[in-house]
């Protein structure tokens, strides 16, 4: 079995190396054949491991390779294979496989074909290392590696200034999160003296009431560790206020948006918090913070989705909002629910992105939804799969998203932590918002009049940063009609639509209520009875869906669908009027709450100012001028003086020797 564990991450790595280093020799076809075969190997190995773990009852926790020992601490490459990692491996490899296949169609005309395959395989490797890790060092390695690949992929079209801006932004914002994450890991190493999960979890209860070793403050240490770790999760999982990079990351090719910025990488933060549940359970403060941050993200990022006109950006904001839902569930100690939503979301969000990509292909890389409409009859498969994805997203009964989202709402309702009331309200409102923007998108793209083919696209009111990228917006020529995409594109859609529909129904009972994760996630049940409360009210998935028909959340979702239908199908003039009437709100939303503006001014500007000061004064004057050149000049001066002693006169030399003897004779007395 251990070889199989090793095979899972190594196979994609081989593929990445093959396509990356020998892509030119292999050619396009062999590059994608090899990488896809390798990811398929990884997927089937994951399936076998999943079966072995879940049905065979096996688990594994051990080192594969010792990297280095520093003092008492040793850093190892090790695997922790339990139900949590088995599930994550399955999700990651499955979505990755779908995206690999889809890429054949999507990137067909791109010159960086092999490079792209190499990157996504490398990403798969990194993500697997992250989820399979059994210690913090390897977790950090995977964490940084996925960040790196994400950076590379957002800037995949590196000749486009917007892409470079976006990937730099993603990198820098993630740096803020990683800074906290690294501090958290450092604190763990310092306090517990080990980087191994199991060892840390075993010792942690002994330190429950310790104070953080930060001079001058009296913070609880576990809270400090958890909050620092969560700052890392905020960066990676794009939680408010570190969310700003995710919408811009849509500059990357669509398969990437599906794989990295929707299904897998952005959920790394959620996964990490769930993995660290024994630590987080020890800090109410941290959990409250998590819940509030998640709730803010869930509601306010959803609102932004309403006014976006770029098909991918709408889905991007929806991703932000859904990540907020997961975060809230973590805050409510409902880790299994968060992971459940993570899984369902991975399927339906990947589906939505890939379907959007299919539409984009059909539209010849025009991403503006105002230039679409009525695509339904030209691209039937895309249409149906997109609809399934949207219904799953808004939580329509019996579909996967329904079970996970409803569970989250119930968990939050039952929570008594500070901030849970606010979170519950925010999530409920979020349900309406989600339904509204999802179906606004759906109606605008697939129904209504056909607006494509217009020779002059109306770009007024568009975002500045989107406009710059318009060199990539080709659009359809007048009179041209979109066509359904080739099978390599729609097959993954169909394959993803299946779990998007049924996975919730199948998995809700074991995953949420059936103690699926066993020891992998830890819940202090005396303290947090949310799950227990939910368990009492659960009577099977079918009943759950039927009961929901009477709930507020369901009717809010239906209200969202109905109002978007009314506003965008029936009375298209009203949105225009509304945006004029409530110009202030529209402007705030249009500027994304001025976060980018603020960051540009405060952080970027401030950093530039500080850097300029440090450069001009600190580096040029102090370090270069005084220290480096100063010492060099001083030494040179000495050198010039000292060489004068070498007069060439032999009596000077002899004199120097005599002086030497004299000095040696006298110092003898100093030492006695």
């Amino acid at each position: 079995m251990q070889n199989l564990y090793l095979l899972v991450p190594v196979a994609p790595l081989i593929g990445a190396v093959a396509a990356g280093l020998f892509g030119r020799q292999l050619g396009r076809t062999w590059s994608h054949r090899i990488t896809i075969a390798m990811v398929a190997v990884s997927f089937f190995a994951s399936v076998a491991i999943f079966r072995d773990v879940v049905f065979g009852g096996h688990a594994f926790n051990g080192a594969v390779y010792k990297w280095l020992t520093s003092g008492e601490t040793s850093f190892e490459i090790g695997f922790l294979i339990d139900r949590l990692s088995a599930m994550m491996m399955l999700v990651v490899t499955f979505v990755s496989l779908m995206v690999h296949i889809y890429t054949i169609g999507y990137m067909e005309e791109d010159t960086g074909y092999q490079r792209f395959f190499s990157y996504i395989s490398l990403f798969t490797f990194s993500m697997l290392m992250l989820v399979m890790s059994n210690n913090f060092m390897q977790l950090f390695f995977g964490w940084e590696a996925v960040g790196l690949v994400s950076y590379l992929l957002i800037g995949f079209w590196y000749t486009r200034p917007t892409a470079i801006y976006a990937n730099l932004k993603a990198f820098l914002v993630n740096r803020v999160g990683d800074f906290g994450f690294l501090l958290g890991i450092g604190l763990i190493l310092m306090v517990f003296g080990t980087a191994d999960y199991a060892a840390v979890f075993a010792i942690a209860p002994n330190h429950a009431n310790d104070l953080a070793p930060i001079p001058g403050v009296s913070w609880n240490m576990m809270s400090a560790i958890c909050i620092l770790l969560f700052i890392g999760a905020m960066g990676k999982s794009a939680q408010f206020p570190l969310h700003v990079w995710l919408p811009d990351s849509m500059e990357g090719p669509t398969p990437i948006s599906a794989l990295i910025h929707a299904a897998t990488m952005v959920t790394a933060g959620i996964f990490m918090v769930a993995r660290m549940s024994p630590l987080f359970e020890m800090s109410d403060t941290a959990l409250s913070l998590i819940m509030i941050v998640g709730a803010i993200t869930a509601l306010f990022m959803g609102l932004l989705g309403i006014i976006q006109n770029d098909i991918k950006r709408v889905i991007a904001y929806s991703t932000l909002s859904q990540l907020g839902y997961m975060t809230v569930a973590l805050g409510a100690s409902a880790y299994s629910v968060a992971l459940f939503h993570l899984m369902t979301h991975a399927f339906f969000k990947a589906l939505l992105f890939l379907a959007a990509g299919s539409v984009i292909i059909g539209m010849h890389h025009d991403q503006d939804i105002r230039n679409m409409g009525g695509v339904r009859k030209y691209m039937p498969i895309t249409h149906w799969t997109f609809l399934i994805g949207s219904l799953a997203l808004i939580g329509f009964p019996f579909l996967s998203g329904f079970y996970s989202k409803t569970s989250i709402l119930e968990a939050v309702e039952a929570s008594h932590l500070f901030g849970s009331g606010f979170a519950y309200v925010a999530l409920l409102l979020g349900v309406f918002v989600t339904a509204f923007y999802s179906f606004r998108l759906y109606f605008l793209v697939f129904h209504g009049e056909e607006r494509f083919g217009a020779s002059q696209h109306d770009h007024q009111g568009d975002h500045a940063d989107e406009e710059v990228s318009s060199d990539h917006h080709h659009g359809l020529a007048p009179g041209e009609k979109p066509h359904e995409t080739p099978w390599v594109v729609w097959l993954p859609l169909v394959l993803l639509a299946v779990p998007s529909m049924i996975i919730g129904y199948i998995a809700v009972e074991p995953l949420v209520f059936g103690n699926f994760f066993r020891d992998a996630v830890y819940i202090n049940s005396e303290h947090y009875h949310a799950l227990k409360h939910m368990l009492d009210e659960f009577h099977g998935p079918g009943a759950m869906a039927l009961e929901d028909l009477e709930s507020l959340a369901f009717w809010l979702a239906m209200g969202g669908v109905a109002s978007s239908w009314f506003l965008y199908m029936k009375r298209r003039d009203i949105p225009q009027k509304l945006s004029q009437k409530f110009g202030f709100i529209y402007t705030v939303l249009d500027n994304k709450y001025y976060f980018d503006r603020f960051n540009d001014w405060f952080f970027a500007g401030g950093a530039r100012g500080a850097s300029r000061f440090l450069w001009k004064f600190g580096d040029v004057k102090l370090i270069d001028g005084l220290m480096v050149n100063g010492t060099a000049r001083l030494v040179g001066l000495f050198s010039g003086v000292l060489r004068r002693f070498q007069t060439g006169y032999i009596y000077h030399y002899a004199f120097s020797m005599i002086i030497g003897v004299f000095v040696l004779l006298t110092i003898r007395n100093w030492f006695e």
Binding site: R643, Q646, A654, M657, V661, L664, I667, F671
Partner: protein, 483 residues
Amino acid sequence: MSFLSTLLPAYAEIFLLVMVSVILIVDLFVVNQNKTLTYVLVQLTLLGCSLITVSTHQPGVAHLFNNMYVDDLMSDVLKLFCYLALSMMLVYSRNYLMVRGLFTGEFMVLALFSLLGMMVMISASHFLTLYLGLELMSLALYAMVALQRDSAIATEAAMKYFILGALASGLLLYGMSMLYGATGSLEVAAVSNAITHGVPNKELLVFGLVFVVAGLAFKLGVVPFHMWVPDVYHGAPTAMTMLIGTAPKLAAFAFVMRILAEGLQPLVMHWSSMLEILAVLSMALGNITAIAQTNLKRMFAYSTIAHMGFLLLGVLSGGIDGYGSAMFYAVIYVLMTLGGFGMIMLLSREGFEADTLNDFKGLNQRSPWLAFMMMLLMFSMAGIPPTVGFYAKLSVLSAVVNTGHIPLAVFAVLVSLIGAFYYLRIVKLMYFDAPESHVPITLQPDSGILISFNGVAVLLLGIIPGNLMSVCAVSVQQSLLLH
């Protein structure tokens, strides 16, 4: 036991003396301007000496001539390195001297005589033997510097060397006589014994010690007894400079070991504080002044001063670590210096001395391999890993730190940092500047191979320094602890 077999430990010296006499006579009959026969004989003599030294080696310590002479592992190892240094010097300088008409029988005979002096020094266990060896070596060297009679600068250098050397000898003899007065013996072991058992006049003893240290410092060339070094290095023909700068330092190291570490061990408190001052001054002055030099030979002279200061650091730390690392440092220093001066001679040609910094400009364009070798040598002198110079410095520093002289170690690192500048400047000149001359470099096959060997050895020893280091450690351990 027959008389001859009691002489066994001195066979190498006896063989050398016989061969020098033979070569003196043979050379009279060699009409060949290139003196090929003499040269071959000399190299064979060196080879023979090495074979004898290796084959007559016995474990333990052997004394002969009434305890005036000692043969132990340290003396054998140092002698072997002396043969090697001399042999390499001859290979490097053959062509250089030939085009200058200096490759004569006298040169080779004098070189061998100086070697004999070094061997006597290395194996001396009596102040008189030590002095005898020292003078034999020095006189031969004075004469060699003056060999280029028509060069004013060489003659001046020889003059200075001779006069200052005489002064140093005087100081040394004066110190020795005072030691004799205080202890009543000139034998190293007996002196040590007498001091341990207490001498009536300690003042006299320490007074003598100061003069002995001064004489020693002159031979090593440490501040303030260094003044002769730059002038002699610069003035002498490069081949002679190479000889002065290499093997005699090994002999001087043996001198330090025999007198200070063995004979005057009970006075360690006194002499180690003296060496401390000498070492600090040498490292500072050597490294700082070297920066201002434009002549490579002068620069190497100051670099030697700094290196000798470093070597003293190892000696004053004491113990197997300290002495062992000092010996390692001495051997490595010799290896690097051979390469450095060898490079100057390789680039020189008839009527042209490649001894200024400008001559090394753009060497990489003219000969990438030579530039690479020079880079390795410079890295090693500066103490940059993975070359052996780094390891040598490291082992000395760790000995210093282990004995608790932290400020001394910090100081040594700082001045080495300053020193790195002028070594790296050469690398910069070779690789980043345009060459000033485009005369093609003609390499003799023997010296070309040797410089490659030299450069690669500097690198390889840096990667696997363990064997040489343990040889040095075992040598000093045997010669010190078995007394």
